[in-house]
């Protein structure tokens, strides 16, 4: 497999793997928690490295995902104390964890190739650099198979939990009452997001992986009338944005994840403008009026 095809496939697979759980993050209004999570990945990886002294050890991924989940649970706990209002709880934990990561890197791991800039920005081409080969024939980047495994995990999770995930996200107390264990499911979802963020951040970096998780879901929310419709739009936006971003980055020799984030933003803006324009013509109020007429409302 050529390098370009491998890197392009990696971009698409990473985008879809991040976007799928991301649509539920958008529905749960936890988008900025992903930002918090992705920053907490740094100390997780550093601590994992200090334990294993191996930058490729799977312990690093687990450490990072656990750190991500720690931010989620810590923020939820802070919010539950009732001492803080608004979105402040989500912004208090992650800078501290990120700072611990930076301090650890600059004191304990100075000799490691663990560049904080790369952590923030990521490098898709670097991630796609190492190819796997079977009897001398390249079968694509090694990291592509890591992301495919993550994508498989995501798809299995969503397939297994779809009805209860939809019901729990729509109305958590009611789902709990039906015996669907909404809180446990929520935690499982956020752990899955932590895993995808950890895996995705090698390719996209801590900040831009947030775009991969949130923007397709947010764009789909503008278009969809049902959760399954939202799923379809999420995948469409993720694939289209990833392909377009990769091509633009390739042609202009720009960083792939940054180009993807900008194109995602552009897609969101265009869809918002189109939906707004259509909404103006038809009118949200008129839709409501039609609903009233249909029931013979007085």
């Amino acid at each position: 497999m050529s390098f370009v095809v491998g890197a392009g496939l990696l971009a698409v697979v990473t985008a879809v793997a991040c976007a799928l759980p991301g649509m539920f993050v958008v529905l749960r209004r936890d988008s900025m928690l992903v930002d918090a999570m992705s920053h907490a990945v740094l100390p997780g990886i550093v601590v994992g490295y200090l334990i294993t002294h191996d930058l490729r050890s799977p312990v690093l991924v687990i450490g990072a995902a656990v750190a991500g989940l720690l931010v989620v649970l810590g923020s939820e706990h802070l919010a539950r104390t009732g001492l803080l209002t608004g979105d402040a709880p989500q912004g208090l934990v992650f800078p501290a964890l990120f700072s611990i990561g930076v301090v650890l890197v600059s004191t304990r791991a100075t000799n490691v190739h663990l560049d904080t800039h790369a952590v923030l920005v990521g490098d898709l081409n670097l991630a796609a650099f190492e190819h796997l080969s079977v009897s001398g024939v390249s079968i694509g980047p090694r990291y592509l198979y890591v992301m495919l495994a993550v994508l498989l995990l995501v798809v299995v999770f969503l397939a297994a939990t779809w009805p209860r995930l939809v019901a729990s996200t729509f109305d958590a107390p009611h789902a709990t009452l039906l015996g669907l264990r909404a809180p446990t499911l929520g935690t499982a979802l956020m752990f899955l997001v932590a895993v995808t963020v950890t895996a995705g951040f090698h390719a996209a970096g801590a900040v831009l992986v947030v775009a991969l998780v949130v923007v397709p879901g947010a764009t789909a929310l503008l278009l969809a009338r049902s959760v399954s419709g939202m799923l379809v739009w999420t995948v469409v936006v993720a694939v289209a944005g990833a392909v377009a971003g990769f091509v633009v980055a390739y042609l202009t020799d720009a960083p792939t994840s940054a180009a993807m984030a900008v194109l995602y933003g552009a897609v969101f803006a265009v869809v918002l403008a189109v939906v707004r324009g259509r909404g103006r013509r038809q009118g949200g109020a008129r839709g409501r009026l039609r609903a009233l007429v249909a029931t013979g409302h007085d």
Partner: protein, 247 residues
């Protein structure tokens, strides 16, 4: 005593340092339409949430049909206030109602033709079958309340628990909801509903619980809905408004 659809005994709930409910005892006989009334802050919604395990009580037990809630989930239907759900959520009316069947599906079960048909029937009962394919965001508050009622109907429970079903609901939807409640009564279903309006209780309920942190009185309407009991519940200031009640 006849079998109770729901029996609450010694239920107390503390929120931070405030005792929201103190030693609540309550029995809803099978087939009763019980109204829970009390002033703002009396703990009516908390009572419902604690009964359904959505708020953890400090003391007390709740039984449904002589068993714990976990054993009889399918027989208990819950209708929250329409403001409790997200109006912007991308879900159609039909799909929202369909979630009422998810409790019985199990991990790998998916809704099939039978479930979809039941959802349509439930929507028909609340008069919204034509709107099944609309997103809930296009509905009025009263119509959304009817969707939540349909979601409980589709579950076909023996006991319906409703939290302020007429709150912020237009007259047309109010009538539609009242009609369904009347059907449920004649069908022998048990209904427990929180109301803030005493007139509603007069009109729709055969049993009443007067609540203000603790139970003032609970039982058949004729026995408990007296002027004195209402005065105790609401305080003296409002008593004149209820002059029509027996002393």
């Amino acid at each position: 005593m006849t079998e109770a659809a729901c029996r609450v005994s010694g239920l107390s709930v503390v929120y931070r340092t405030d005792a929201v409910l103190v030693d609540v005892d309550l029995t809803v006989p099978v087939g009763a339409v019980m109204g829970v009334v009390g002033p703002n802050g009396a703990g009516k919604s908390t009572l419902v949430k604690a009964m359904l395990g959505l708020v953890r009580p400090l003391t007390g037990t709740v039984e449904f049909f002589g068993r714990s809630l976990g054993e009889v989930r399918a027989r208990v239907g819950y209708v929250p206030q329409s403001s409790a759900i997200e109006a912007d959520f991308p879900i159609t009316v039909h799909d929202a109602v369909l979630t009422g069947t998810y409790g019985e599906l199990g991990w790998w079960g998916r809704p099939r033709r039978a479930e979809h048909h039941r959802a349509d029937q439930a929507l028909d009962r609340v008069g919204l079958v034509e709107l099944g394919r609309r997103p809930i965001g296009e509905l009025s508050g009263g119509q959304r309340q009817r969707v939540l009622l349909a979601r409980a109907l589709v579950q076909d429970p023996a006991l319906f628990v409703l939290d302020e079903p007429f709150q912020g609901v237009d007259a047309h939807s109010q009538r539609a909801i009242a009609d369904v409640l009347e059907e449920l009564r004649s069908d022998g279903r048990t209904v427990l509903a929180v109301h803030h309006d005493l007139a509603t209780v007069q009109e729709h309920c055969d049993h009443v619980t007067l609540l203000n942190r603790h139970v003032i009185a609970s039982g058949p309407r004729a026995e408990v809905f007296t002027r004195d009991a209402v005065r105790t519940t609401y305080g003296a200031a409002t008593s004149d408004e209820f002059g029509g009640l027996p002393a």
